[in-house]
Symmetry: D2
Subunit: 233 residues, 4 copies
């Protein structure tokens, strides 16, 4: 059974991804993993942080001579930004004057609930963990899982079908989704250019007001053998 | 609920310890953690590796300004020996000629079963994980757990009561066990000097024949409130 | 930590619900649990089975003198229909001629995947478990969880906001959702009579063609203290 | 993955055993399961309760036509004694005058810790769960697991090697352990008649003083393929 954990803060030394349960002998294609991380960082309307970081897997354990060895895998994704935060987020006790308070909890985030949970007087430490950056660690784990599935002929991809009021209206084939995944410029990962243009307009509209907008993506798993998983518990 | 995982190989870049579930605001005393790691490395009759490594926690996440922040904790214990193994255990594909085979599986170890499990032609990768060195990561996790218990007035210590045929015959008080834990020279962690001398002789005896010898230790948890845990499931 | 499991088949002796982790001393209001089970059985356009069964909790363990005692709770929901199935679904080996095959796998169900998973020549045993009837056991467990939450002043209710193309368009207050939950006639659990009428028409439309139709419900948890749960893992 | 849970009280309606994860199509030999339950009830120096109960599996779910069907298995082991306890341990609120208090917590049991944990004024409800009778449910689950292992040619048996100061001194073969398991009179499950006689004397000695005595048994798993399990986490 595969199990994963993640650790790490948005402006700490890095994100850490941990996966146990992969069999030994699985080829670990770091180019593929790094491309998955690169794709996570693309998109239209992303925050400025995306320009600072370029995630690269640094594999600490579980992979030797290009393949898994049966041991748990630990991966570090270093935060380039860490050098600017070492004084305000030191592991050892630091200078309180350097601390960067988040006194105004962001709506739609964990800031307020997290600060109340742990009785923090502001939300810095909540923001550090409840951060989109954490998803980089999950992408690394997911990339490893995809390498295992690839050996079994299974492929998992996704595409965006709605952003705000703009929706994809055409039928999209597996080949088109695959084509999307191979592009070297990623906007909103929608397979239809017209729909994607409308989605971009939805993003632009809310960006002007300092708001954000939700969307829907469809996840497609290709060549999954019937009977995988269970209906029984 | 606390959950922990470990990763890392005996001669890889390092051991990795993960712990999630600690509340925020717990002071993290690195001196205490490093002493726990130091104590693991002591003892009479240990292998030569103990002289190479001096474990020091390098906390990657979960601790800021000397205290936990509610995020999962990741700790790396670097292997000093890694510099001598980078060519034979590289993450990327390396030179097969540099590989150090373990062609003769050690009795009483996972070598044979592990090699059969993963269809390895020798046991190097098994030895790398099924190694006493992995326990360093568990000591780091255990040290963090002890810091939590310390806040609640609970202390957990142990002492050795038998090695081979040599057994402790005296009643040992909590104060004596505590005294043992404060010593700066650790032999076999037995509270009675005579018994410890006999235990050392048991170790010497088997060392001469290239064998090893088992023992028994007693673990004492002090000031545990009644009702902790469950009898129900 | 609460943990639950369910067992039981749609036409077997009954459904079994299991819950461990409730503290001792929680009053167990069987009238409430049975009303929850009754509500599950209501609704517009349900199958004929609903008329056969009237679920009543039979508590085997974990509750004594009207309250939890700290032991795991096991509940049996007997299938009235079992008396008609004993010959075709006996525990001991039975007469193959009495077996009721499901040779035509139902679309949108687990039938085909389940039969392939376990190499069954037909889908009877899959249907027996992948059955809406199983949800009765989950309602029983959920009812117990609601009794615990009630002690903490937390209430969890839901209402239907869309069926097929028919959607609720009005804002609904907590009091209206609560009012819905107290009704003794349950159609589609929509708080707006006009919208519910349109939803019924959506159901009628698909019933005529032997099809079914999806919907959306909104779940509201009232008086949840901020900070419950975690953002950290 | 197999998962099991148990529920039920010592003097309640019965013990309940749950097991999920068995594949479909495994023959369920109830004669074998009942013999396992019978063996649990044997032994020298057991309490009087053993004479009251004769455990028989009543399979509620997961087995049809003599074999597993992939659904979770629920088994009830009815307590014959329940008829004498219905008034003092009713599910619904009962007559407090009928309650059988356990005001004197038994040493070496969960009574005191359990009563403190749940703030009971006496230990009846603790005793009901922290009871050797609960192990009957585990034997039922273990029996099912043995049936799965049997298909793979694996057999798991045990024998007693020490009771108090009396120890087995001879080497015992697999055939002797197997012979023990086939006996229809079970005393202390020791393969050497002389050693068993000494063990009985140890039991007799403590019985006279109202005490009990510990022992050691050896568990042997036969024909386990190397590589089962893991050394990696």
């Amino acid at each position: 059974m595969l199990r994963y954990f993640t650790a790490g803060e948005s402006h700490g030394e890095g994100l850490v991804a941990f996966l146990s349960g992969l069999p030994a002998g699985l080829a670990v294609d770091q180019v593929f993993l790094n491309r998955e991380l690169w794709r996570r960082q693309q998109g239209f309307g992303r925050g400025g942080r995306m320009k600072i970081e370029t995630d690269i897997v640094r594999i600490l354990s579980g992979v030797r001579n290009g393949a898994t060895i049966g041991s748990p895998i630990a991966i570090v994704l270093e935060n380039k930004d860490w050098k600017n935060w070492q004084e305000s987020l030191p592991v050892e006790e630091g200078d309180p004057a350097k601390h960067k308070r988040v006194a105004s909890p962001r709506p739609g985030h964990a800031d307020l609930a997290g600060a109340l949970k742990y009785n923090f007087s502001e939300a810095r430490y909540v923001l550090e963990r409840a951060s989109a950056r954490e998803s980089a660690a999950r992408v690394a784990v997911g990339g490893l899982a995809k390498l295992l599935l690839r050996e079994l002929g299974i492929e998992v991809l996704s595409h965006v079908v709605a952003v705000g009021g703009a929706t994809l209206k055409k039928e999209i084939s597996w080949e088109q989704i695959r084509g999307l995944s191979e592009l070297n410029e990623v906007l909103l990962n929608c397979a239809d250019a017209d729909a994607e243009q409308q989605m971009k307009e939805e993003v632009d509209k809310v960006l002007r007001t300092g708001d954000s907008v939700g969307g829907i993506f469809e996840l497609v798993a290709h060549k999954v053998p019937p009977g995988l998983g269970t209906y029984a518990q």
